[in-house]
Amino acid sequence: VEILVCVRRVPDTSENEIQLNSAGNDIDRDDLVYSVNEADNYAVEEALQIVARTGGNVTVATVGGEDDEEVLRREMAMGANQGVLLTDEAFEGSDGRGIATILKAFVQKGKYDLILTGIQAEDGGAQIGGMLAALLDYPFASLVNSIEVLDGKKLKVGREIEGGNREMNEIDLPCVLSTQTGINEPRYVGMRGIRQVASVEIPTFGAADLGVDLATVGAVGAKVKRTDYFIPALGKGAEILQGSQEEIIEKVFELIKAKGGLN
């Protein structure tokens, strides 16, 4: 199977507290640590495990700028055969549909049996996979937490539904799947692995290379626009316990007792 995995570089929420900038119109991006979106990393691992069983190649692609190359290299260090950067000034400000339109154009330049995306980016809307599938007229499944290759033409996929239950489906190839976190255990990537791919050339494709209609992408084509970031004014919220650690522990202990938590 030839697999394309669409990935994104995002601020890493396990490394940063996300806060507003002083103007209040964006998150504070100074000193943010970025990494590959967690769900996308699971998708790459899943692709690598599939080709290890059935043969084939894994390509990772991202829409972005020079800075985003680092996540392609990281996923290549994990084992992806190649990385591709889809980059053009005209792509800036794209909404989900714009990103899906760019990816569709790239997919149509190659021949992929399976396209994976992470279910959702930290700052995204769980939308790219479903949009891409519809643009390509491929079948789609979201929240995928298991993939079994049945033969060269079909997969059996599990979807995470409510209550920890799982919906099993058969799906024809080629298809698009948005995979859920936890579907596997992504392998560790060491510095050595990253160094080995540090000088590999990453091919880039712009709007003209892809034959993308400029009216459909970027800020021009966007029907959905984020206008600002804010922290909502909330109700009372929690009473934050104050005092020394010993006093706080005493209070928590008393509260647990009072609320029926100690028999």
Partner: protein, 327 residues
């Protein structure tokens, strides 16, 4: 004003709670709106849902087709594309079915899409202004969406309070003949029910629930020790299960267990809405997190800003001492 539709999710002949919430959301888009419910399915269950919805929707579009007996998003998308007038707004609950359906539906309707909307500010010209969250709820955003080509809007479950309104005494309109041929590249096989875990977390009055803040598998024992002295169970949020530190049966949230404890101690859990969706029965919530901006502090009764790796062992010791003294 544009026509608004509400896609009704149902199961076993009963409409999901989101049916009333979508009507409330439609009212926020247009106070004078009379949204139309769309219900797809087959047989007596479909009829029962349509009948119930007549009380809250003035018009209920029924799409009866044996192929839709199980809600396959690809088939339902094809049906909707054939019946929804262009330029409409379609509201869908943002749960596993809506995530499957809506992005592709917006493409096929050639309309805009906004996912997981939890607030609606209204319409200005062609722009619908809504509120979303990013980074697991750490920050909110205002988003504007050009509704001139129509829009598919996924609504967060629980975000819109159903309105009390006079019975609508609505009419059911049978649209079954208009959906056309339905075939899909994805076929439903079966639903595999979650396996019972070693511990049934739904049975405990006190839960010590751990999140990403527990940092590594070996640290879970810190929570286990506290749970032991309290006669509590250890539960967790999704990242802990993803990392394989605890089994899926311990996960609380929309894709895990729903619990109703008396006391819920959230330790190092940021507090995403998917997690909060699994906490019912209004327990007393104590949130402990070293990030003072953790969203969990907004819903907890009391909060402690501390590192759980230091705080929990101290609390365990304190309770052990107290218990020792009382024996």
């Amino acid at each position: 004003m544009v026509r608004i539709f509400a896609y009704i999710v149902h199961k076993g002949g009963i409409a999901d709670d989101s049916a009333a919430e979508l009507a409330a959301a439609a009212g926020k888009i247009d106070a004078g709106a009379s949204p139309t419910a769309i219900v797809t399915g087959w047989g007596a269950e479909l009829d029962a849902v349509c009948e119930t919805l007549r009380a809250s929707y003035a018009e209920v579009w029924k799409v009866s087709n044996q192929a839709l007996a199980y809600p396959n998003a690809e088939l339902i998308r094809k049906a909707l594309v054939n019946i929804v007038p262009s330029g409409s707004i379609v509201l869908v609950p943002h749960a596993h079915f809506g995530i499957d359906l809506s992005p592709g539906l917006s493409i096929k309707l050639n309309s805009a899409y906004v996912s997981d909307v939890l607030g609606i500010d209204g319409v200005e010209g062609n722009w619908l202004k809504v509120v979303r969250q990013e980074f697991g709820g750490q920050v909110s955003t205002h988003v504007k969406c050009d509704i001139s080509p129509g829009a598919v809007i996924n609504i967060r479950p629980g975000a819109f309070k159903p309105q009390d309104s006079a019975p609508a005494d609505g009419m059911v309109v049978d649209k079954s003949a208009e959906v056309g041929a339905l075939a899909a590249g994805r076929r439903y096989l079966e639903t595999v029910i979650a396996e019972a875990g070693d511990v049934d977390i739904t049975k405990y009055p006190v839960l010590i629930s751990v999140g990403r803040g527990i940092q590594e598998k070996d640290n879970v024992s810190i929570a286990e020790e506290l749970a032991e002295v309290l006669g509590a169970a250890v539960s967790c949020s999704r990242p802990v299960v993803d990392a394989k530190w605890l089994p899926k049966s311990r996960q609380i949230g929309s894709s895990g267990q729903t619990v109703k404890p008396k006391v819920y101690m959230a330790c190092g859990i940021s507090g995403s809405f998917q997690h909060l969706a699994g906490i019912k029965g209004n327990p007393f919530i104590i949130a402990i997190n070293k990030n003072p901006k953790a969203p969990f502090f907004q819903v907890a009764d009391v909060g402690v800003v501390a590192d759980i790796l230091e705080f929990l062992p101290e609390l365990t010791n304190k309770i052990r001492e107290a218990r020792g003294a009382s024996v």
